[in-house]
């Protein structure tokens, strides 16, 4: 409950009796734009996708779209997309969290600001420009490839190729590590030096402090950040499309082809069924977060 905050906004009214209705009116007026925004940009599109995923091309009810969506190659696409989301979230979240901790605990004010601004720029890089950046740098004739070769490292000696699932994960880390730094820094900031000192005074070792206090405190934030990264990688479209020519089955690319392709036609509603599949995966991904959050809030009170 956020009532204390509201009453500081409206302290004069709070002292009188019967101001609750005034308060809730203010609350409603304040929340209204958000509700309208969510309605127009979230619930309405969600509803229309849900509705037409059960329709055929002539508007009649059908389950056929979901039947097809559960078969191949869409099944592989879901498993690839979930793998891509998980691996790139984990490989970006761990270095991101470590950077955030080092910067927040050891860094000077200036360094913190510098990292924050760099991170916010990098975290918004995406789409085709991001793909092209990596193609130009790490492609077969890229500048970074040439530089590494000058030092005797040939990244193309083995079977590595940028235009694969591994390549896409590599490219995504470019914006996902900075994203992690941004979203995780406030949580690290919340760990007070006093707690660590207090734990030490009571005889705890550093390892014990982290195991008993630090990690349990940061864990919910870490999981929610991880979930954010998972969602970003799971749903990213343009970069993957520019880098794979459809040779890696990914759900967003398949939806794109169904809705806007020149080859497959008349199957837009199958695309919507796949979109509903993505919604369900996202909802399932929320469950561990909600469980952890509930546990965490129990002892945060």
């Amino acid at each position: 409950m956020n009532q204390p905050e509201i009453s500081t906004l409206d302290r004069k009214g709070a002292s009188k009796r019967g101001t609750l209705s005034g308060q809730s009116l203010g609350l409603i007026l304040g929340v209204l734009p958000l509700v309208a925004f969510m309605g127009v940009f979230f619930f309405w599109p969600l509803w229309s996708v849900l509705w037409s995923s059960f329709e055929d091309n002539f508007g009649a009810f059908t389950l056929k779209n979901f039947e097809v969506a559960l078969g191949e190659p869409y099944r592989t696409a879901f498993s690839n997309s979930i793998t891509l989301g998980l691996i790139s979230a984990i490989t970006s979240a761990i270095p991101g969290a470590i950077i955030a901790y080092i910067i927040e605990s050891r860094g000077s004010q200036k360094l913190r600001q510098f990292i924050a601004s760099i991170s916010s720029v990098l975290s918004t890089t995406g789409g085709v420009p991001l793909a092209f950046m990596f193609i130009a740098a790490y492609g077969a004739e890229g500048s970074a490839t040439a530089l590494l070769r000058a030092f005797g490292i040939n990244i193309y000696a083995g079977s590595f190729t940028l235009y694969s699932l591994a390549g896409v994960i590599f490219v995504y880390s470019y914006f996902m590590v900075p994203t992690m730094v941004i979203v995780f820094s406030p949580a690290v900031h919340g760990i007070r030096r006093e707690w660590q000192e207090a734990a030490k005074n009571l005889g705890a070792t550093t390892a014990q402090f982290w195991r008993r206090v630090g990690i349990p405190l940061l864990f919910p934030s870490f999981i929610s950040s991880l979930l954010l990264l998972f969602a970003a990688a799971f749903s990213a479209y343009a970069t993957a499309r520019a880098m794979t020519s459809g040779s890696v089955a990914l759900v967003p690319l398949m939806i794109g082809n169904l809705v806007d392709g020149n080859v497959i036609n008349d199957q837009m509603n199958l695309g919507k069924a796949l979109a509903m599949g993505m919604v369900i995966v996202s909802l399932v991904a929320m469950i561990p977060y909600l469980l952890i959050q509930r546990r965490a809030s129990r002892w945060q009170q």
Binding site: G139, T161, V259, D260, N262, V263, N265
Partner: protein, 401 residues
């Protein structure tokens, strides 16, 4: 209260619509250019040109400038008739064109579309409302019957042949599709795009099938061929576009022959030499793209003049040679003086739909050099049904190849 306001709104809307109609109506108030179905009912070329000039604008959609020489076609049309061309989303897809017709506000509606056959099938099937305005161009009889709607709702305009494109540094130079497995081409071969999304790439897989012993009813050898290319490391899954070529991400690709002049010019700007050749083991002719006038076209006369222009077989002058004096000519004289769209497609390397009649009448010009069809080669063209069957295999196999 609410009803009243609605009525007032409706009245206002109606008066706005009728006002804009009044403004758009040509001087010869008798002719409604939105319903004319040929040049005769339009009152002749002079009347059509005059009405189109008055409208002043033509809305086209998804026409890349270096695609089938559309850049020159648009330049010539604008320069000769003084009609501005607005090209919405030049790199967009056929699906985007149809979605725009379905959803865009009146003023943003395209006047004409250029769509793939498979997209056409989604709007002309049984039980679908017609979204095109029928119109038969003057050279209507030259369009082969299979590629036009008897009522004039749609008509094929040009088609391409799948060509090999390669950087001049590639050694040995490939001459056929089956060459592409050569270990010397490791990490060099790309497709123009995703074969499950782009018609050109889909037909590139089809061409590979023809090269490897497949047929119009058997695309499997093409898929197997790309599987080999993928496993031996020759294939890179990068989009075979101009930027990626300039960045050195690939050196060999398959593309429409009619993209050659534009692609060669852009490569030159990037300091590279790009070459095109028709593969000797597969001459695959695509199905033609389809031209149609939108029923909701905001510029009805300009739309019809554009179609007359695209199907004109005149040899005439190009945009660079149009003079101020030419622009003062009467509509019909000016139209007769400029190059027709069919020959503009030829100079871009495409095969115009009227080609058989034009060859007979010797009204066809020479295409760009170096894109000759190999002697004795058999031209293969899968029909729409064969393509649909092949697509199912590609969609099912490509993502997990």
């Amino acid at each position: 209260m609410r009803a009243k306001r609605l009525v007032a709104l409706a009245v206002a809307a109606v008066s706005v619509v009728s006002m804009s109609v009044a403004v758009a109506a040509p001087s010869s108030a008798a002719t409604n250019f939105c319903t004319v179905t040929d040049l005769k009912t339009a009152g002749g070329m002079d009347a059509l040109v005059a009405a189109a000039k008055k409208e002043g604008t033509l809305n086209v959609i998804t026409l890349p400038r270096d695609w089938a020489n559309y850049g020159e076609a648009m330049d010539l049309f604008t320069k000769a008739f003084g009609i501005k061309i607005v090209d919405d989303n030049p790199d967009g897809s056929s699906a985007y064109e149809l979605q725009t017709i379905a959803t865009a506000p009146a003023a943003k509606q395209p006047d004409v579309v250029d769509i793939g056959v498979s997209a056409l099938n989604t709007v002309t099937g049984a039980g679908r409302p017609s979204i095109f305005a029928p119109y038969k161009v003057s050279t209507w009889n030259h369009i082969p019957n299979v590629w036009k709607d008897p009522a004039g709702a749609w008509y094929g305009d040009y088609s391409g042949i799948i060509a090999l494109s390669y950087d001049s540094t590639v050694s040995p130079a490939p001459t056929k599709i089956s060459d592409l497995t050569n270990p010397a081409y490791k990490g060099m071969v790309a497709l123009g795009g995703d074969p499950t999304a782009a018609q050109m790439s889909f037909l590139s897989v089809f061409a590979a099938a023809i090269a490897k012993g497949g047929s119009v009813t058997n695309i499997q050898p093409g898929l197997d061929f790309f599987k080999t290319l993928k496993s031996n490391g020759n294939f890179v899954a990068v989009n075979g576009n101009g930027e990626n070529y300039a960045a050195g991400a690939y050196k060999i690709s398959l593309s429409w022959n009619f993209n050659a002049p534009g692609a060669i010019a852009s490569a030159k700007k990037a300091g590279k030499t790009l070459k095109f050749v028709i593969p000797t083991d597969a001459v695959l002719q695509g199905t033609p793209y389809i031209q149609a006038i939108n029923k909701k076209a905001p510029h009805c006369a300009a739309a019809r003049l554009w179609e007359e222009f695209l199907y004109s077989e005149n040899k005439g002058i190009t945009s660079a040679k149009v003079t101020a004096a030419d622009k003062k000519l009467s509509g019909s004289k000016l139209f007769a003086k400029i190059m027709g769209g069919q020959n503009i497609f030829v100079s871009g390397g495409a095969t115009p739909i009227n080609a058989p009649a034009m060859i007979k009448a010797k009204s066809i010009i020479d295409g760009p050099e170096g894109l000759n069809i190999p002697k004795g080669a058999k031209i293969v063209q899968p029909n729409p049904d064969q393509q649909d069957a092949a697509k199912k295999l590609v969609v099912a196999q490509w993502p997990t190849l």
